[in-house]
């Protein structure tokens, strides 16, 4: 690859990294690099400075905290999540999505937080975080702030991060009951951009949906938060009527463009089919448990 000329820094503390971002006009953070490096190769991205955060210690974690939240550090790789037993135990939606992110090579290097920050409408994790009501912790020269992912992505490939802020952590809030959910993606081949993908998160208690979220991938110019579809499920016992309504509203929330992966109608149809299928899968596995 022959990118444009760029400068490279590899700080060893987050403060140093933030200072470098503040001091340089056209700097980009390099974590896993699985989107940034290909874009530099194609010269779509030509940053003047790369701030490589891989030498900053203690950011590769993911953990379930005592307060019920689940935290993922900025250097936690997709593959770490794919192999994680605590993820499977606490976050069924994320566990379902982990093996479907990109391909095994990308998963080895790419990061969860980096994927959310890249804000690609094709990003799997952003849709999952939207469904889960998750947040990103951004750190800047004046300290940290939490931003909900649904507000974090401000457009295709853009976020509300300030120039001198780094996303240091993703946070999934505590479940309201038992958390369940699932992720389905239609792709022509492993590593392909999704024709469409759907993330459904359900917090259940006594057979009733206490909280729900639905995130949509690849069917609009950014990650879609299908909140009305999710609302149709809250309070229901996942009866056919509620599920059909949610599937219909999710399809309505999507705003796909026809392309060589399929027509807009087809993609909308896949969204509703996947909402139905994910919930059916959830119900099937509940029955097996019971």
């Amino acid at each position: 690859m022959f990118p444009s000329r760029f400068r490279y820094e590899a700080p060893t503390s987050i403060e140093e990294a933030i200072a470098l971002l503040g001091a340089n006009e056209d700097a980009k953070v390099l974590a896993g690099g699985q989107s940034l490096i290909p874009m530099m190769k194609l010269r779509f991205a030509n940053p003047a400075l790369l701030v490589d955060i891989n030498n900053i210690p203690d950011m590769g974690y993911h953990r379930a905290d005592a307060d019920g939240s689940f935290r993922i550090g900025a250097l936690c790789r997709h593959a770490d999540l794919e192999k994680s037993t605590i993820l499977r135990e606490h976050q069924p939606l994320l566990a379902a999505a982990a093996p479907l992110v990109a391909d095994p090579i990308v998963r080895t290097r790419g990061t969860f937080v980096g994927s959310v920050c890249h804000a690609d409408p094709q990003g799997d994790w952003a849709a999952c975080m939207v469904a889960l009501g998750g947040s990103v912790i951004a750190q800047g020269p004046n300290g940290k702030r939490a931003v909900e992912v649904k507000d974090f992505v401000s457009g295709p490939f853009t976020t509300v991060l300030a120039r001198d802020e780094i996303a240091i952590e993703g946070v999934v809030p505590k479940a309201q009951g038992t958390r369940t959910g699932g992720y389905l993606k239609l792709e022509r081949r492993v590593g392909d951009f999704a024709t469409a993908a759907v993330a459904v998160s359900l917090d259940m208690s006594g057979g009733v949906v206490k909280n729900a979220g639905i995130g949509l991938v690849g069917v609009g110019s950014q990650t879609i938060n299908a909140s009305e579809a999710a609302a149709a499920l809250i309070g229901s016992s996942l009866d056919d009527e509620a599920v059909d309504r949610a599937a219909e509203l999710a399809a309505e929330a999507s705003n796909p463009r026809g392309d060589h992966r399929g027509s807009a109608d087809y993609k909308r149809h896949i969204v509703s089919t996947f909402v139905t299928r994910i919930i059916a899968n959830v119900q099937r596995s509940e029955m097996q448990v019971a």
Binding site: F2, S4, R5, R43, D103, L186, R188, R189, V190, G191, D192, F193, T195, R257, G258, D259, H260, R261, G262, S263, A264, D265, Y266, H269, I270, T273
Partner: protein, 792 residues
């Protein structure tokens, strides 16, 4: 006392590939690995537009970048009469555009700089002012009355038609249709695809003014053809040109043509008197170099009620892109597409083809296609299945009725080729048994009751592999024979060189096995070398599955010449006359006294130390082999699938392959070739194509859009074999490299169509993407897939 042939790595040994030793250690030597002193780097500026007039080119900003040595333009090429070059199909192709750009990705300028980063910076700094013209992306647009003339550079070219070609007997075919009980018709498009070798194209041109010698390291499957072409285009005498094709990272027909990048790097080296390296990137490879297929069919079969096919009519249109540059035998404008229906006993056939120009990259003969046999066999097997369905006849039974019988050989095909051997029904039966055909049909009916869509598809075909003979097959007038040269050293070790060029086929392994078979010299004692025109004997290179049928035969023949001389030496050493000498593998002995003998190694030593009076010393020779006929391998591929009616996604349940490629030299390599071919077949059926939007933008310009299946998607393959030796090949071998790529796609597509048969769908154009399958299920209508891509 004869040697164990398998132990010495002879015929039939699944010997490990010797070339892999260096490849898996990262020690291969590809063009990009070659570094010459003082070497400069070249990068090409490509057109962003599919069709546009060039108003001006400003290279001043590029020249201003430190380290930029030269910016080559079409004008500079034209000053040396090199702006256009001849193609392998007697057309011309722009090297660097002077007047217009005619496809997206066409070469416009080239920057030569101290390193590849600077060369890229230079390319970005060039300013080209284009005046857009309407782009043409399919033959219908090309043939419209008001279509813009793409090739306005050509005198006497008044429209976008390149040629009209026909083959077969029109009158008798018309009669067959008039007399038929029923006519089955089907239309389809075999989409454009790309061979996409992992290593893209590249060259290092090194012109030495002091010796007037031009050395070019090049990604070429046919270095001798390139040497001839360069000597014609660049007006350098042939003996002053040395083409070296080092290790190639795949070819698949993509590396047969001569590309503008090669020519520009040669001129740049001559002008700058420095070695100039050009390494194409993946996008450059996908959008500008030799593609495969892009042919439209209107097919008809004349049928009798009992299932007998009475006649074939195929009307085809081929989209060649902006220049007719197909690498194919010069007599056959649309390759060997008329090999269609060669495995069936059909009295008459007629085919027309119209070739057209479009605003797309040139090519058409590539991707394991054996000169468009891919299209022939895909169309054939789709037409066969549609006909069986139209007759309401079982698809296996329909084939049984029409397949050529074992004792019918030699047999004229409907279009006039001569097939010579095969056991077609046996192959079909092995396939049917393996997939448990009758049982699957019951399962399918059972599943249908629960709304599940299962399907089974068959593809049976024989294909012509191994061009020539030289009477009918030539490229630019050069006859399609091939060659081998064998030198046995005094210790009995040997070096073999051929005019072929391996790109992954394993010649270094299998050629040595043929020598081992003929001479009893262990394969590990033979080194194989190809690709350097200064050392290798003249040959036409490796493509169209021709290496084993042609160069492989030459290896046999040269070994036999060596054996004939060694026999005389043996008689001398054993002090008997030639007639009293017998041969067993690796050893001559005296008839009637088997213990009195000499080994081939002892004969080799004597050739350099103790030759009989009057005999030339040494033990080396060469052979040029002109095959009497093509070889005709047969294959039966059967696939079962399940289609998800709610998404259109289909999964392969099983894929059974029965291949008869005659005698197998290295069964492991043969199986590898079949599995690779089936993977490509699955790719084309399922996901892989290059299409264009209305503006002529190429969709498929990188690996996110042009899909190569990974191990995750690729189904498992179950391989079976039948061996019917080729009657005219010295060791009975037939070509195999392309069989599965050629015959495989129809098995998958037929299986999906079988699943949708009851819905009334007869055809979905490849690739059978989920949205196309879903649309067919929803509408009950056929789905076409030709460009421009629909943006709905």
């Amino acid at each position: 006392m004869a040697l164990d042939e398998i132990k010495i790595g002879g015929l039939g040994a699944s010997r490990r590939r010797v070339e892999d030793n260096r490849f898996i250690r990262g020690k291969g030597n590809y063009v990009d690995d070659v570094v010459l002193p003082g070497m400069l780097h070249m990068e090409i500026l490509r057109s962003p537009l599919a069709h546009a007039r060039i108003k001006s080119i400003d290279t001043s900003a590029a020249y201003a970048i430190p380290g930029v040595r030269m910016v080559m333009t079409g004008e500079m090429m034209a000053a040396r009469n090199l702006a256009w070059m001849p193609t392998l199909s007697y057309d011309t192709q722009a090297v660097l555009a002077t007047d217009k750009v005619r496809f997206q990705g066409q070469e416009v300028c080239a920057v030569i700089a101290d390193d590849p980063y600077i060369a890229r910076d230079g390319v970005e700094a060039i300013v080209v002012d284009y005046e857009p013209l309407p782009p043409i992306v399919n033959p219908t647009q090309a043939m419209a009355d008001d279509a813009v003339l793409i090739r306005d550079d050509k005198v006497n070219q008044s429209n976008n038609v390149i040629f009209d070609w026909e083959v077969g007997d029109r009158e008798s075919t018309d009669r067959a249709f008039a007399e038929a009980d029923m006519v089955s018709e089907i239309d389809m498009h075999y989409p454009r695809s790309h061979p996409s070798p992992i290593e893209a194209c590249g060259s290092i041109a090194d012109y030495d003014r002091s010796t007037s010698k031009l050395t070019v390291y090049m990604t070429s499957q046919a270095p001798h053809i390139v040497r001839a072409a360069v000597s014609m285009v660049a007006e350098i005498h042939e003996h002053m040109i040395r083409i070296i094709a080092p290790d190639l990272g795949g070819g698949f027909g993509n590396k047969v043509p001569v590309y503008p990048g090669y020519v520009i790097s040669i001129l740049a080296s001559i002008l700058l008197e420095k070695p100039v390296k050009w390494i194409e990137d993946k996008t450059g490879n996908l959008i500008s170099t030799g593609f495969g297929r892009d042919v439209y069919l209107k097919g008809k079969l004349a049928l009798r009620k009992d299932g007998k096919i009475l006649g074939v009519r195929m009307d085809t249109v081929s989209d060649h892109g902006a220049f007719f540059s197909d690498a194919q035998p010069s007599k056959f404008k649309i390759g060997l597409i008329h090999s269609a229906f060669a495995c069936y006993d059909i009295p008459t056939a007629y085919l027309t083809n119209r070739g057209v120009y479009t605003n797309k990259a040139p090519g058409g003969v590539a991707y394991r296609c054996s000169f468009r046999v891919t299209e022939a066999m895909f169309f054939q097997e789709r037409m066969v299945q549609a006909a069986a369905d139209d007759l309401g006849m079982d698809q296996a039974e329909f084939r049984r009725v029409n397949l050529v019988k074992d004792d019918d050989f030699p047999k004229r095909t409907p279009f006039g080729f001569l097939t010579d051997s095969g056991q077609y029904e046996k192959c079909l039966q092995i396939g049917l048994d393996a997939i448990d055909y009758d049982n699957f049909k019951e399962q399918k009916a059972e599943a249908a009751k629960r709304g599940r869509l299962l399907g089974i598809g068959i593809s049976t075909m024989t294909e012509p592999l191994g061009a020539g003979n030289s009477r009918e097959y030539d490229i630019l007038g050069i006859k399609m024979f091939d060659s081998a040269e064998l030198r046995v050293h005094m210790t009995g070790k040997a070096i073999l060189r051929t005019g072929a060029k391996t790109q992954g086929q394993g010649h270094e392994t299998t050629w040595a096995q043929i020598v081992a078979h003929e001479l009893g010299i262990p394969a590990e004692d033979i080194v194989v070398e190809e690709g350097d025109t200064d050392t290798a004997p003249f040959g036409m290179g490796t493509y169209a599955s021709r290496s084993t049928p042609v160069a492989g035969a030459a290896v046999s023949m040269v070994s036999r010449k060596i054996r004939a001389k060694a026999r005389k030496i043996a008689a001398h050493l054993l002090e008997v006359s030639d007639e009293d000498i017998e041969w067993e593998l690796g050893r001559f002995y005296v008839r009637g006294a088997q213990d009195r003998g000499v080994t081939i190694q002892e004969c080799a030593m004597a050739a350099y130390s103790n030759v009989p009076d009057g005999m030339e010393p040494g033990l080396e020779n060469n052979a040029y082999y002109d095959p009497p006929n093509l070889t005709w391998p047969f294959a039966c591929y059967i696939s079962t699938v399940e289609v998800d009616p709610l998404t259109g996604v289909w999964d392969v349940i099983r894929m059974v392959a029965v291949d008869d490629c005659g005698v197998r030299i290295n069964p492991m390599i043969v199986e590898g070739q079949i599995m690779g071919g089936l993977t490509e077949a699955y790719a084309m059926a399922n996901m892989q194509f290059i299409t264009f939007d209305e503006d002529g933008n190429c969709i498929g310009s990188n690996y996110m859009d042009y899909l190569l299946p990974t191990a995750w998607e690729t189904p498992g393959f179950e391989l079976h074999e039948v061996v019917t030796p080729c009657p005219h090949h010295p060791i009975g071998a037939k070509g195999i490299g392309e069989c599965a790529t050629v015959g495989g796609p129809a098995a998958f597509v037929n299986a999906v169509m079988d699943a949708l048969k009851d819905i009334g769908v007869r055809n979905i154009d490849m690739p059978l993407l989920p949205d196309r399958v879903y649309e067919a299920i929803q509408t009950g209508q056929d789905v076409s897939g030709h460009p421009p891509v629909k943006n709905r």
